[in-house]
Subunit: 299 residues, 2 copies
Amino acid sequence: MRATWIAVDWGTTHLRAWAMDHNDAVLAEARSDDGMGRLARDAFEPALLQLIAPWLGPGITRVVACGMVGARQGWAEAPYRAVPCAAAAGALVKAPARDPRLDVRLVPGIKQDSPADVIRGEETQIAGYLAQLSGFNGVLCLPGTHAKWVHISAGEIVSFRTFLTGELFALLSETSVLRHSVAPAGWDAAAFQAALAETLSRPETLAAGLFNLRAEALLHDQAPETARARLSGLLIGAELAAARAYWLGQEVALIGAPALTALYADALAAQGLAATRTDGAAMTRAGLAAAHAALKEPT
Amino acid sequence: MRATWIAVDWGTTHLRAWAMDHNDAVLAEARSDDGMGRLARDAFEPALLQLIAPWLGPGITRVVACGMVGARQGWAEAPYRAVPCAAAAGALVKAPARDPRLDVRLVPGIKQDSPADVIRGEETQIAGYLAQLSGFNGVLCLPGTHAKWVHISAGEIVSFRTFLTGELFALLSETSVLRHSVAPAGWDAAAFQAALAETLSRPETLAAGLFNLRAEALLHDQAPETARARLSGLLIGAELAAARAYWLGQEVALIGAPALTALYADALAAQGLAATRTDGAAMTRAGLAAAHAALKEPT
């Protein structure tokens, strides 16, 4: 099965590729753990070929890739565009592939000078969302390891902020002293909402609320599923408190993994705000397709 | 060289022992990495003997130990005392040593029902401090992996709160994405004070301030020593904001590692508060000595 072109999402810890047809429909999907974080510069091309070789024909196949593959320590640097800038992808950067069948283009990230902030990967989801909903004005929230809040106006990215919420949740629940008290799965919706309300109204309580999860387990047999929901609520509440200027009175669209956007939607609903939800992987593909389509146009 | 008695500080990751004479002066010191976290119940006695055997005579030697060795998963459980309680150590619990030369006693921890919180180890530093300064009324702050703020009145521990500040600093600077931007050593005093002021006055800014450390490094070549001081300032500022009721208008005594109490003293000085500073290890020994002296008294 030959691909018309190939879409690639290449982050620090993952590599995901889709064989696409001429209508930008998915023909096949492949993934590996060959994230940018573990690859030396000359290891990018072999890692990619291992996944996509079955999809290549005798001619040249275009590959459009987003994510940390375009960082300074990636395959080739696709320099940041500065906000305010078009939400649609900027000029792609060609990666130095040696295999004559490959024409690999990398999507540039986005930077903000003050407060200093960067995006590398989510810009493609943003572009994909706006390619499908071109008149959108409002705020995009992309929860995840590094959650992004992005202000969109007239097709431009105006400003954004990044929150370490997802990474903090992983570190605290898996590596810190809280790992003894926090379940790896399971949930308690009421505990989530209560913890969320605590840090949203009084963000300073986060600092003491974390160890409290351990003490509640030791002294009052708090269920580890409750601790998991409370930890998530404390962290997302602190994020919402800090991002208040982004969502208060705004139209908010959530883009990301369905389980995660559901949490944020619940959190915002408790503040009287109805946010829409869109799958992140689909928006990555839509953004890569838009970048690919722009490449095809005569320049 | 024979010890009159032996003082032991036995935490999750460390074991530290002092050979003491009849005046509670230190004759010798030994330490190992045999923390409670890596020992099965029957491994405690061999780990201890490996350090202290040279100090034992033919008769019985008393060993007084504090820390996680007395937790439920430790050598033997020394159950928590509940606040409000005397700052002096409570009834010690005998550990089941098999060697006839050993008489090992464990110091109980302290618990608070609401908000749920626990102390296991620092109670001995508190007892040591009050043994030396019996009339102290005010607040003790014990910075560290799990920083404690403790309200002392009339020789009693009235209430306390624990903050994960030290563990968060370690996780963020060594394990998170910030490890690329934060130096393992070095300092920038102005950056520390500026970051401290940010989260102390607006604690919600912590959530966005963390990733900002990474972005400042990527975009503006922020020095990793500056990032280190800023990270410390952001976290301690958030702790001080949450612990405000403990220190505002109070007499505050800092107990801990000198480098750490110096930071907290600087932070509090910026709020117009002059805190005293006392070495933590010395207070651990003083607390163990007070517990040992209480054992000697006829009951």
